[in-house]
């Protein structure tokens, strides 16, 4: 076979692949949920990176002249009871929640996927024991475990919150992955791998894992939405981050009692921010689900 010919044909087969990708992208671009979701997420990511540069005031800048000011041209979202600019604090708080929720979800996904992979592949007694344990963990509400863990470790810090959320999310991901792996190991490519004397870790991570990635990615986006809520809630309960740091949940927690004196703005704007972030993640996962027909 001549080289020219083979090169041409490779181009053709790659062109076909590109064609499919192009058609999918076109479909994604037409998918309203996905477009709206990514636009909002992009907006928040830009703020997470550049929030401090954009914000008109520093996060901890207090001004006792302007406590509890209603939204105005000077303070777009008003000020809180300490005279801090709500707008600036929302902008700057973006980074904390994005970084924490992403790290917690990534951690949970890695741990959960590994457990699910092993459990689904080996089946039998190991599988039964692991699954019963995970069920036991899932039976306890996330917040109670998180609060208990934070109390036990005896300190609140973003790192501990991330570890705790990652840990409590792992069972859900493990169960999803295990269910997919159970079906996957019935497929004959696994038998084919055994028939060329492959070792088990190779079969697990090089053969099976790539095939269960799509459900893992979907589960990841779903969990990410929950993580945002969980972190906001923990912060609201005062268990997530240090007091005073710019954090949406913490902002709500510090200001919610002033709602009764009609000072609604320090609570409403961070709440809207949380809601919009959670919604945009869900929109993205809906869009992906639809286009990739998972």
């Amino acid at each position: 076979m001549s080289n020219v010919e083979s090169v041409n044909s490779v181009v053709r087969s790659n062109a076909e692949r590109k064609q499919i990708r192009k058609e999918r992208l076109a479909l994604l671009r037409k998918n309203k949920a996905f477009v709206v979701g990514t636009t909002i997420l992009f907006f928040w990511i830009v703020l997470a990176v550049f929030g401090e540069l954009i914000a008109p005031y520093a996060a901890d800048e207090m001004s006792f002249e302007f406590t509890g000011m209603a939204p105005s041209s000077q303070f777009w979202f008003g000020t809180d009871s300490l005279g801090q600019d709500v707008f600036s604090r929302v902008l700057i708080g973006t980074r904390s929640i994005l970084v924490m929720s992403f790290s917690a979800t990534i951690l949970g996904t890695i741990v959960g996927a590994s457990i699910g992979l092993a459990s689904g592949y080996f089946k039998g007694a190991l599988d039964t024991v692991i699954m019963r344990l995970l069920e036991a963990i899932s039976a306890i509400p996330v917040l109670i475990i998180a609060l208990l863990a934070i109390a036990a470790v005896g300190g609140r810090s973003p790192v501990i919150t991330v570890l705790v959320i990652g840990f409590v999310f792992a069972p859900n991901i493990a169960r999803t992955v295990r269910a997919t792996v159970l079906g996957e190991t019935e497929l004959e490519y696994v038998a084919a791998a055994r028939l060329r004397a492959e070792r088990t870790p190779h079969i697990l991570f090089r053969e099976v894992l790539p095939n269960v990635l799509p459900p893992i990615i979907v589960e990841f986006t779903v969990r990410l939405g929950y993580a945002i809520f969980a972190i906001a809630t923990l912060s609201f309960l005062g268990a997530g981050v240090e007091t005073g740091s710019p954090n949406w949940g913490m902002q709500i927690s510090e200001n919610w009692s002033s709602i009764f004196s009609n000072t609604w703005w320090p609570t409403l704007f961070p709440a809207l921010a949380i809601a919009s972030l959670a919604v945009c993640i869900n929109l993205i996962s809906d869009g992906l689900l639809e286009v990739f027909e998972i």
């Binding site: 076979m1 490779v10 053709r12 087969s13 037409k30 497929l187 038998a191 084919a192 060329r196």
Partner: protein, 676 residues
């Protein structure tokens, strides 16, 4: 045909929207079905058969739409009807029978309720509907109707479930019955029973049938007229006998030449193939849809769309050169170069694989199920052993036991080249693992869809031959090119390949470690006949070239007969007959083999008396005493050895030199009764 056709499609065009683009799936189909007529639609996968069937009920998937043309039911255009009118037609006048009967029923509702519901929709009272349901079951020859009524769909066998679905479809006394591959998932003997039933019911009710199938033999036996679909276009139509014995479109001609039938054998005949591959969904054609693959194509074929040309007596073909079609040149040489035995003359007759007393029992819900029972087989060097039998006979389990994918029970011996092999893969040497490989039925599942073709084959070479990564890649490319997988496709993922190419990659992988024996487990069952022919040719070539032995598992007796040197017939995990292929097919047969052979519908239309098996396959967890076939045996009654058959299990005896049979009835007696 003086009266109005029941169903008439006029220039019907259907589009599917896939990834945002409309793709033409049916390109102007015109056909009509007279009252009481059975019309068959044949074609390979993706040609639009099922779409045509669903369109006839105006029941398209969500992304499908009728882009033009008319669907006339009894003269009324269904494309302009509102949904209520269409529902009314579906309730009272058109019924459908699907390929998978168990999935067609609601798994949570008892059969009786599901069936009675159809009658209640027709206006019957509750009591009436149940008695009608019982009568309907009796009509489809279900013996114990009241008991079947109380069961759930999953408690029925495939054949029984298809009868229930047929009963349901006939409940509204439809004028048209659409059957989409109604017997494709069924075993040969069950298929034959269901087809007999449908034929009989048609005689009784006079219902018109639109019968969709990929199996030309089934169409030959079931249909008055047949239409051949290719790439969404009707290319030929006419009386079934005329079209199949005197085809006038190059595609039909090619299709018929691909099928191993009429006693063809690899040593003397090579199967013809159709060059190229079917077009992707919705491709646009300026001319004839078949022109790119046609041996007769001329310039005008690629620029002008041929009209349907009348050849006479309702036989029409969409081809400019229909007169020359039957004499079309072959795509591959008809005769093989040299017979198998010459190629490996130095090894002729030497034994490669000895299997002795192979057994496997599984435990299921506290019961012990003997799936494979004391199977002993021999495979010689360069020889093909065909394993035939219906589902549950243990074919695939035997393959897994030999390969060590499943551990066999103690007492079993698998001996390769005189060396006793351990029961499980983990305890076997890499060399022994590489010496026996497998080609699976479904290449989609057998190839890792996330790996490239090079990686799939290269990794096997690397592990089984102990070569470096670079050497393995080169060797893999040589192997793939030898299997006619072009270099351009080596970097592709399996999903980018057609079914035939995927199977070539799977075969390349099986040959990566220079195996002595390759198990082929239904390697062509998931493929279209034209692709099947190329794969069978490839396997035969490889055998001649390398002297590789095959264990070939298939439910398609034509294929097994073509490729096998020896045949073992299995029933309930036991070998009931074993011998040279021509002896097993030529007879005298074991009664089970006889029944199996008689249930295959022939394409040439020759009518063979069907030898039915009574009842259904017994559960392997509770096999009958004596000969396991005795409750179903067509030859036991009047044989004079009934007492023995029901009490003592026969051994696998050598009834004549090289011909083994597990039967109490003397060979001569079988010969006499089978010649009648």
């Amino acid at each position: 045909m003086s009266d109005t056709p029941i169903l008439e499609l006029q220039d019907l065009r259907v589009d599917y929207t896939v990834r945002g683009i409309d793709r033409e799936v049916l390109r102007g189909i015109s056909l009509s079905i007279a009252p009481g007529e059975a019309y068959g639609l044949v074609g390979e996968s993706g040609c639009g058969k099922s779409t045509a069937a669903y369109a006839a009920m105006r029941y398209l998937p969500r992304n499908g739409k009728i882009a033009g043309g008319k669907i006339l039911f009894d003269g009324r255009d269904m494309t302009t009807m509102n949904n209520d009118e269409v529902s009314e037609l579906r309730r009272s006048a058109i019924s459908m029978v699907y390929q998978n009967p168990i999935a067609a029923m609601n798994p949570t509702i008892r059969i009786g309720h599901q069936l009675a519901e159809v009658f209640r929709m027709g206006g019957a009272t509750k009591e009436e509907s149940f008695s009608k349901a019982e009568a309907a079951l009796a009509r489809v020859q279900i013996a114990d109707a009241p008991r079947v009524m109380r069961r759930y769909p999953h408690q029925l066998s495939g054949g029984m479930a298809q009868r229930v679905v047929i009963a349901m479809a006939l409940a509204s006394n439809p004028r048209l019955l659409v059957m989409d591959e109604p017997t494709t998932g069924l075993d040969a003997t069950v298929e034959a029973e269901v087809l007999d039933l449908v034929r009989e019911l048609r005689r009784e009710t006079g219902t018109a049938v639109l019968f969709i199938s990929h199996n030309l033999g089934v169409i030959r036996h079931m249909c008055d007229r047949v239409g051949v679909l290719y790439a969404g276009s009707l290319v030929e139509q006419g009386e079934t006998a005329t079209v199949l014995s005197n085809p006038s479109h190059p595609y039909t001609v090619g299709l018929l030449r691909c099928i191993p039938r009429g006693g063809l054998h690899k040593n003397t005949d090579r199967l013809d193939t159709i060059s190229g591959t079917p077009p992707p969904l919705g491709q646009h054609f300026d001319g004839c849809v078949f022109a790119p693959r046609c041996a007769l194509a001329e310039d005008k074929c690629t620029t002008n769309v041929p009209e349907m040309i009348n050849i006479g007596n309702g036989h029409i073909a969409r081809c400019f050169k229909h007169n020359e079609a039957s004499g079309m040149p072959r795509n591959v040489e008809s005769v093989t170069v040299s017979p198998t035995r010459n190629a490996s003359v130095q090894q002729k007759g030497s034994q490669l694989l000895n299997i002795d007393h192979l057994s496997k029992a599984f435990t299921q819900d506290g019961h012990t199920v003997h799936v494979v029972n004391d199977v002993s087989l021999r495979v010689g060097v360069g020889e093909t052993l065909g394993l035939v039998g219906e589902s549950g006979a243990g074919k695939t389990t035997i393959a897994k036991l030999i390969l060590g994918l499943t551990g066999s029970d103690s007492g079993s011996h698998v001996e390769l080249n005189g060396k006793d092999l351990a029961a499980t893969l983990k305890k076997r040497d890499v060399a022994d693992v590489g010496a026996m490989q497998i080609v699976f039925q479904n290449p989609d599942q057998a190839l890792n869809r996330r790996h490239s073709v090079t990686r799939i084959v290269g990794r096997a070479v690397q592990k089984l031959r102990g070569l470096s990564a670079e050497e393995s890649t080169n060797r893999a490319h040589d192997l793939l090119s030898g299997m006619r997988v072009e270099a351009s496709l080596h970097s592709a993922r399996p999903s980018q390949l057609s079914g035939g190419l995927k199977q070539r990659v799977a075969i390349s992988r099986a040959f990566a470690g220079a195996p002595q024996l390759v198990v082929c487990d239904e390697p062509t069952s998931a493929l279209d006949v034209s692709v099947q022919a190329t794969i069978l040719n490839l396997l035969v070539d490889l055998q001649k070239q390398d002297g590789t032995s095959f264990i070939f598992i298939s439910h398609d007796l034509g294929v097994v007969r073509y490729i096998s040197d020896k045949i073992a017939v299995l029933y309930l995990g036991r070998v009931v007959e074993f011998g040279e292929a021509d002896v097993v097919f030529g007879g005298p047969h074991h009664p089970y083999t006889e029944a199996l052979l008689s249930s295959v519908p022939n394409i040439d239309g020759s009518v063979r008396k069907r030898i039915p098996l009574a009842g259904s396959v017994p559960s392997p967890s509770n096999p009958p005493t004596g000969c396991v076939l005795n409750p179903r045996c067509p030859r036991m009654a009047g044989s004079g050895v009934e007492g023995l058959c029901t009490t003592v299990e026969p051994e696998l005896n050598e009834v004549e030199p090289g011909h083994f049979m597990r039967c109490h009835i003397p060979l001569d007696q079988l010969r006499v009764s089978q010649q009648k």
